[in-house]
Structures are given as C-alpha cells and as structure tokens.
C-alpha cells in the first residue's frame, strides 16, 4: 500500500493474513507493512476486525479457542507463524497492553519485574535497573519510587495502565501492541498515555487500536482503517484524515457511520 516499509527495526510485514473463529472469517485477508519505530493506529467501527488483527500480531489470538490464522506475519523478516516458532518467544518481542488495566495482585516492583523473572533474569541489580528504567520510560517513576513494594492494585486507573505499559517495556520488546489503552480512563490520564505513546515511538514500534478518531490523529504516524473484517485503507495519518482515497474511510472519519 501507500506506505513504504522503511529500514527501522521493529517493522511488521503482514501478508494475506486472515483470522477465523470456528470456521467463520473474522478478518482478512489483510496485507500491509507496519513501519518500525512509528505509531500505527488501527481504526474502524466495532466488530471491524481491528482488535482481532492486533491480537494476531503477537499470537495472542491463540488463547481463544477455535481460532485459526492463515497467512504470514514477519517481524524484521522473521515469520512469527513459521513452523516451530514458539508463541512465547514471539510475545517476548511483541508485547501487549490491554484495554482494561490488568496489573497482577503483586507489588508495583514485582509487576514490572515479572516479565524479566519469567525470562530467567536472576540478578537483583539488573532487575532493579530494568524496573526503574521501564517505570521512568512510562512516566510513572516519580509517582511510585517511594512505594515500589506496595500493591499495584492501590494505584489509580491511569497509573495502573502506565504500570502495564512499564511492565511491557521492561522486557524490551521490539513492538508494543495496544488495544484501546485509554478507553477506560479520564481525559487527564488519557492525555498522559497519549503523550507517552508518542514518546515510545523513538524506541519502539507501537500499534494501537482506538475508537477515538482524535486520538488516532494525535498520536499516530500511520493509520489503517478497517471495515467489516477488511483493511480498507492504510496511509499516513495526515492523508487518512485530510484526503482519504476511499469514500468509506471518509464517511467514517467524518462521523457519517460507526
């Protein structure tokens, strides 16, 4: 499509990707190249397949029974659905943040350290450094540095979501997928998250599903519009929001449906 895949690391090349739930096609076939170190927004009305598409990028859809995937996804040229490729390994390189913040009922520190520990990291100093750096990166450090051992469930909703982002950052993935990460937050917390997403793009590829068109326009470099399981249009966010080439895209972003 219109966007050229560039050479920044963390790029995702999707080719003829379709997802089926129990024999019924939920999405696809979709072909697009998500550029590395950029924010790509996925927009479209409810049920258009954008979340399904997102989940198929780190094989989280395999947690859903009777879900089947066809086609190809390559992370920097490596096929994530290749035979013998472990979903666990894929998810360590492609992290995910969910719509509803879902911290573990553990301390703030242990939440962020979790991914490191399961990855086999043992050294206390190393873990401490990575936790601090992840919390700084997610702009949470100043708020929690004196209460790292307190339960993460005591944080506010916005803080919990930033903690979930920190938790995903700690394992240093190449890509971070976000499924409507701010939809349950108030406007101030949302602004925090959006600012953060923008900053993350200097080190990570971010793919974000959002219902909020203004949000897509504010945070993303590229935007993909999904409708009824198909990718309708993919271009730079500026083009999508100013002069889309498809009439359905224009109808959607101008609020004529959805």
């Amino acid at each position: 499509m219109a966007v050229q895949s560039d050479s920044s690391p963390g790029s995702l090349d999707v080719k003829d990707l379709s997802v089926y739930y129990g024999g019924k096609r939920a999405m696809g076939p979709v072909t697009l190249s998500i550029p590395g170190r950029k924010v790509t927004a996925l927009i479209g009305p409810s049920g258009c397949g954008k979340s399904t598409f997102l989940r198929s990028l780190n094989r989280m859809n395999e947690m859903i029974p009777n879900c089947r995937v066809e086609g190809e996804v390559k992370l920097d040229g490596e096929a994530i659905y290749g035979s013998g490729v472990d979903a666990v390994t894929v998810r360590r390189r492609i992290g995910m943040v969910f719509q509803k913040s879902n911290p573990f009922p553990k301390s703030i520190f242990e939440n962020v350290a979790y991914g490191l520990r399961i990855g086999g990291m043992k050294d206390h100093g190393d873990i401490g450094n990575r936790v601090e750096s992840a919390l700084r990166h997610s702009a949470l450090w100043e708020e929690v540095k004196d209460r790292l051992q307190e339960s993460a469930l005591g944080l506010s909703g916005g803080q919990q979501q930033r903690l979930c982002i920190a938790r995903a950052l700690a394992v240093e993935p190449d890509v971070i997928l976000m499924d409507e990460p701010a939809s349950a937050l108030d406007p101030i917390a949302t602004a925090h998250i959006e600012e953060l997403i923008h900053e993350l793009a200097s080190d990570y590829t971010v793919v974000i599903v959002t219902h909020n068109m203004q949000q897509a326009a504010r945070v993303s470099h590229h935007t993909a519009f999904f409708y009824m399981g198909d990718l309708i249009e993919f271009d730079s966010t500026r083009v999508i929001f100013t002069k889309p080439s498809q009439s359905r895209t224009e109808d959607y972003i101008t609020g004529r449906f959805g």
């Binding site: 780190n58 989280m60 947690m63 029974p65 666990v88 390994t89 998810r91 360590r92 992290g95 995910m96 969910f98 509803k100 913040s101 879902n102 911290p103 573990f104 009922p105 979790y114 991914g115 520990r117 399961i118 990855g119 339960s151 469930l153 005591g154 506010s156 909703g157 919990q160 979930c164 938790r167 995903a168 394992v171």
Partner: protein
C-alpha cells in the same frame, strides 16, 4: 379507573402467611440447634478436664479420658490431607487449565467427581476394605512379607486413604472454583509478557487461588474429622492400650469412640458423662475447623477485592 391511595388497614394475607410459615420454620430449626448444642454443652462441659483430654480410657471405658482418640483423629486427618490435597489440587488444575472444557473425557471426569461426592460414606468404607486393605495391603504382604499380615489388615494408612477418596470431591470442587475466580485478565497479561502456561499457572494463578484451595482443604478436613463410616472396616479400633506407632497400626478415633461409648459400654450410667464430653470435643474440633475456613475465606476476599481504581 384509578386505584384508591387510602391506607390499607391490614397487610396482605399472602405476605402474612409466608412471613409466619418461614418464620416458624426458622424458629423450629433454631430451637432444635439450641437443644442439641445446649444439651451437649451442659452435660459435657463439666467432664472436659485436662485429665480427660490427656489420658487413655480406663475401666472398660467408664473412666479415664480420650487422648488416644484425639491423637488418632488428628493423625488420620493429617494423613488424609497429605493424600487428598495434592491429588485433588492436581486434578482441579488439569480440569480447569489444561483439559478442553467441551471434550467428552473432561465431562465424564466432572460427572464422576460429582457422583463421588454423592456416594454414601459407608460405601467408601467397603471400597477401602476391598481395595486398600485386601487388594493393596494383601498384595504388599504377599510380595514383601511372604504372606505375613503386616499391611493386609485395617490400619491408619488405609483409613486415611479411604477418607482421602471421600474428601477428594470437596478439594477438587473448591480448587476449581478458586481457579475460576482468578480473572482472565491477569492470565492474558502474563501470556502477553511471554510467560509459558506453566509460568502463568505457578506464578500468577496458583498464588491467587491458594486461599480458596486452603478453604477447600479445611472443609475437607472438617468433613473427614466427623466421618466414621469410611474408617469402620479400614482401621478404626474399638479400644487400644497404646497409640499407633506406624502406618500399619490401628487407631482410635473420636467419632468411632462416640459410637463405642454409646453402644458398647458395660455400665451405661458411668459412661454417659464421658460420652457427652467426647461429643463436645468432636463438636468443638469440627466447629474450630469450619471457623478457620471462614476466616481464611474472608481474608482472601479482603486481599483480592481491593477495587481497581
């Protein structure tokens, strides 16, 4: 036509009747409970002395205490827990985390577990006698002891295993419930961080399920402490001069001791106070176990119901 808003002089008949009948039933249940517990406490409390708790029965069970029965009950319950808890928890983890919920095999296992919970306990006693004592114990004797009766007779070990089979459904159901109370969100979060299913279960799911599993374990223990039928043929003894000192010894047990005191005493009047006190000890033990289950459960609720936000 509009309904008049003038005050009703009488409450509606249906409400009154329902209030009366349900209230009366509640009062009857309450009275029965008070009579039973009151009778036991009134007649049993006096005999509840340190000597009673620490001595063996004497003079054809018309004097002395019940220490061997307390010891036997505790030993039985501990061994039973040691057997039932790992097996039950493992089964529940398999059923809940690994087995496909709609698969025929899973459904059969679930039905079997539920039916196991409904089997009369005397049937477990007979099963224990046939399977554990005669088949397993007898087999061990044949292979290792040249046919001498060592394990091939009723014993603490076999009674504990029989009791474990009886309480297995309680543990399985409680554990499954505890596992399903762990939110799917944290499982997804764990998976998305690159955790294997094993890591998710051991590091995220089980720690959150532990209080629920413990509640199930305590309920199983309190059920086990009160049951007599399963141990009748598998290891409980009428009277033993000494405490059991190995797994293939017989033992005394509180519930069975109550039965023995009530039916086998040579001097009914002399035994009566002892009988009351023994029943009181059994009630207190069961009550304490149930109370601790409730405490564990409410602790768990406090710990995990902290609101998100």
């Amino acid at each position: 036509m509009s309904t008049s808003l003038k005050p009703r002089r009488w409450p509606r008949l249906g409400d009154v009747l329902l209030w009366l009948t349900t209230g009366a039933a509640t009062v009857i249940v309450l009275i029965l409970l008070v009579i039973i517990v009151g009778d036991v406490v009134r007649n049993g409390a006096r005999g509840l002395t340190l000597t009673f708790l620490t001595q063996a029965p004497k003079d054809g069970m018309t004097a002395g205490g019940i220490f061997p029965a307390i010891f036997g009950t505790v030993a039985l319950v501990l061994l039973m827990t040691l057997a039932a808890l790992p097996a039950g928890v493992a089964t529940a983890i398999y059923l809940h985390e690994y087995a496909r919920p709609d698969a025929l095999g899973t459904r059969i296992v679930r039905v079997a577990v539920n039916n196991l919970a409904g089997v009369p306990s005397i049937v477990f006693g007979l099963f224990g006698l046939g399977f554990f004592v005669q088949f397993l114990g007898g087999g061990i004797d044949k292979v290792f002891y040249g046919g001498a009766k060592v394990f091939g007779q009723p014993a603490l070990l076999w009674a504990a295993l029989t009791m474990a089979v009886l309480t297995l459904p309680v543990v399985i159901v409680a554990t499954e419930e505890a596992l399903s109370n762990v939110s799917g969100d944290v499982r997804l979060a764990s998976a998305a961080l690159g955790a294997t299913q094993f890591q998710t279960i051991t590091r995220v799911v089980l720690p959150q399920a532990v209080p629920g599993i413990l509640t199930g374990a305590i309920l199983a223990v309190s059920r086990g402490a009160g049951e007599v039928a399963p141990i009748l043929f598998t290891g409980a003894a009428y009277f033993l001069p000494k405490l059991p000192h190995s797994l293939h010894d017989q033992f005394m047990q509180l519930g069975y001791h109550v039965y023995v005191l009530a039916t086998q005493s040579p001097d009914v009047d002399a035994t009566k106070p002892l009988l009351y006190s023994t029943v009181l000890v059994l009630l207190l033990l069961t009550f304490a176990l149930n109370a601790s289950a409730i405490v564990v459960r409410s602790r768990m609720r406090q710990r995990f119901s902290k609101s998100h936000g």
